[in-house]
């Protein structure tokens, strides 16, 4: 089951949409994995593929590192705060937050997905 769920979410991830936003709900809703453990699995599942993808993109000069680097230190600060919050908050509450976040993303992505890529 874990392989199948990982595989399905991987397809969506590889097609350039979110992988974790599918993997985490499948783990919690289908396999009753606790929310925090599901979030850990998501990170572990995507790091290897993401590292390979980033290496290939970077080699093909598709990554604008000059845009990334100045923002990175602020991102680390935000990540540390988010991580701390995630580990402190009760799992059930985190799951509800996550649900609300998914609903917002679904609406956002629906709107964005119907736009044409005018910069292509």
């Amino acid at each position: 089951m874990y392989i199948i769920i990982g595989f399905l979410s991987g397809i969506i991830s590889g097609a350039g949409m979110g992988g974790g936003t599918v993997l985490i709900p499948m783990l919690t809703l289908l396999l009753a994995t606790p929310q925090k453990e599901a979030q850990t699995i998501n990170f572990l599942a995507y790091l290897p593929a993401a590292a390979v993808a980033l290496f290939l993109h970077s080699r093909a000069k598709r990554v604008s590192w000059d845009l990334v680097l100045p923002v990175l230190s602020w991102g680390i600060l935000g990540s540390a705060a988010g991580l701390t919050l995630a580990l402190v908050v009760p799992a059930d509450l985190l799951k509800r937050f996550f649900g609300a976040f998914l609903i917002v993303l679904a609406i956002l992505q629906w709107v964005n997905g119907n736009k044409k890529d005018k910069n292509a």
């Binding site: 595989f7 399905l8 949409m17 979110g18 985490i24 990175l72 991102g75 580990l87 996550f98 609406i107």
Partner: protein, 126 residues
């Protein structure tokens, strides 16, 4: 002004960088996912094309994720099934990249949105 210098201008102020960085980091740390769905459209709005926006997003999110992963593993240990999920996700990623451009993207996206909406409602309420 070219597209990249437009985005550079937007994040040229310390306040702009701080807001963008902290907001994305918070999403990454708290929800362990979904950061890309926020950053990619933001970069596209600044003029990057889909491919460069995705690549640049990865360059930003991956370093954050490496750090956050360490924190999560310290918090939860290695949960049951993580290795199987990782094998599945890696294989699926290859298939997804191959499928890209072969299926009507608009419909793939709508199915994806519907799934997120359904899961979101269930997770919020039950």
């Amino acid at each position: 002004m070219n597209i990249e210098s437009k985005f550079k201008k937007a994040v040229s102020s310390v306040r702009g960088r701080a807001f963008f960085g902290i907001a994305t980091g918070l999403i990454n740390g708290l929800f362990a996912s979904g950061g890309g769905l926020v950053v990619v459209p933001a970069l596209k709005a600044q003029g990057l094309n889909q491919q460069k926006a995705q690549a640049t997003t990865l360059g930003f999110i991956l370093p954050l994720s490496v750090l956050t992963t360490i924190g999560y593993v310290i918090g939860t240990g290695f949960p049951e099934g993580w290795l199987l999920a990782a094998i599945g996700a890696t294989a699926g990623g290859g298939v997804g990249a191959w499928l890209l451009g072969k299926v009507a993207n608009v419909w793939l996206n709508r199915v994806f949105c519907a799934l997120m909406l359904y899961a979101g409602i269930r997770m919020l309420l039950f």
